[in-house]
């Protein structure tokens, strides 16, 4: 195609988008909505993964040290625990520290001690954190078998609940994401096909008067790309705006949830989303055109 060719091809793509008026708007809007929600769920899944890992491996395994064990053997026990596979951190917690940790539930430490006749009922203990949530129950079992450890506790039910909840959420998020992606693909395919059908006559005339296939293809390709580009840019913009707002909200009101900073995500996510959007638009229009070009 020569430069004159281009000067006809480019304006045509835009005029077609303009002429179809609200249909173009509706198409872009639906594509943007589906991509936007798709992105939101993607971001949600990413964050669930991050949170679940963090929360789950944050679970504390407490091993109470039997009262009869003398202080000198503590080191030996500590190194045995540290040697267990999957242990990420290990802290010794004396009975006094233990009391301080539970005291807030009952008042001050003094009040609590007072009310207990000055006797601290808690044993000394080791607090262990696991590298991965899956390791938690294994570590707990092995610790319980160690000599000198009287009892092992960890939030069994909470860990399971959390695990079940986050994996359910993750699964739902991925399914919804996939559905919305399918909808977006259908929408782009429909829109480009409609556009091709609406200009079927024009395509035929161009063939008959000797236009090359690329001359005919170009405006449609451009139109498809613009559609995909605008749709995905809107979606990415909206998704990160929402993500940004949500991060701020979560940071102050739901601080137990950790959200990955937008700055760490936006480049990859936007590139993928815009890339997929543009590619879909381009493929959609080329495929829709194919059967008209074999004349």
């Amino acid at each position: 195609m020569n430069r004159h060719g281009f000067s006809y091809v480019v304006p045509q793509a835009f005029s077609s988008l303009r002429i179809n008026g609200w249909m173009t708007f509706a198409a872009i809007a639906t594509i943007a909505i589906s991509l936007f929600l798709c992105l939101l769920f993607w971001l949600m899944v990413i964050n669930i993964d991050a949170n679940a890992e963090q929360l789950e491996s944050n679970v504390e395994i407490i091993g109470y040290i039997a009262d009869e064990i003398p202080q000198e053997q503590y080191n030996a026990i500590q190194s045995k625990i540290a040697a267990l596979s999957g242990v990420s951190s290990l802290t010794y917690i004396s009975r006094e520290e233990g009391l301080q940790r539970i005291a807030p539930r009952f008042g001050t430490v003094e009040q609590l001690l007072d009310s207990m006749g000055g006797v601290n009922p808690l044993p000394n203990s080791f607090s262990v954190k696991a590298q991965s949530p899956e390791a938690v129950s294994g570590i707990a079992g092995q610790m319980a078998a160690l000599e000198g450890i009287s009892e092992v506790r960890y939030g069994e039910s909470e860990v399971e609940k959390l695990f079940a909840f986050t994996s359910a959420l993750r699964f739902a998020g991925i399914v919804i994401m996939a559905l919305l992606a399918v909808a977006a693909v259908f929408l782009v395919a429909m829109t480009t096909r409609i556009s091709v059908y609406a200009r079927k006559q024009e395509i035929m005339v161009m063939k008959w008067v000797g236009a090359t296939n690329w001359f005919i293809r170009c405006p449609f390709l451009l139109e498809g790309i613009v559609l995909g580009l605008v749709g995905s840019l809107l979606a990415v913009g909206a998704a990160f705006f929402v993500y940004y707002k949500a991060s701020a909200y979560v940071a102050c009101s739901l601080s137990f949830i950790v959200m990955l900073p937008a700055s760490a995500l936006w480049l990859t996510v936007s590139l993928i989303a815009v890339g997929v959007g543009v590619l879909m638009g381009a493929i959609g229009s080329i495929v829709s055109l194919a059967r008209f070009l074999n004349v």
């Binding site: 004159h4 060719g5 000067s7 008959w208 008067v209 000797g210 001359f215």
Partner: protein, 226 residues
Amino acid sequence: MLIQAVNVTKVYKNGLTALNDINLCIDSGEFVFLTGQSGAGKSTLIRLMFREDQPTSGKILIAGRSISRLSERETVALRRNSGVVFQDFRLLEKNSVFDNVAITLKATEVPKEQIKLRVPEVLEQVGLVGREKEPVINLSGGERQRVAVARAIANKPMILYADEPTGDLDPQTSMELMKLFVEINNQQTTVIMATHDREIVNHFNKRVVTLASGRIVSDRRGGFRL
């Protein structure tokens, strides 16, 4: 020998034999009338020469070259050298007269400035001066037909196929259009025109090929025969 049809047969998918063993030679610079009853196969023959469709058997040679298997490049070249007035016009109804004529030139990637000069020129030739901006849908039947003619001749094709180009025109306008065709023909363009108009065929003493039920039943210079 510019156009040569050798044993051309066209059987449509529905089993109808539209052309039956056609042999025809047309020299460069000739003016040929195609006549014959409705359904005789005139449009089909034009469609095959223009490569809108392919013969079922036999072959068509243009400038000595069979056009049955052409690359995209060659097809484009063939079409750029041919102009066609379709029987049903095939104009873009929502587009302006200017755009409909200019499409021929745009498709061949002619610079805009040349298009702006050439389009009014051909519109003048077909008697549609000043209607450039009108959408085709606002035109009368005869005006549309003339836009179709203007589109076909805009890029000065080597071969002009005109399928019933005067069907919607009054005798006077028809005669003016015919004079234009003859003029174009005098500038070395080969003209192949399907027509039912007895008056026109009788008036111009040109070669007349008559089809009946897909066969050539007469091929002679002179008046109208059916």
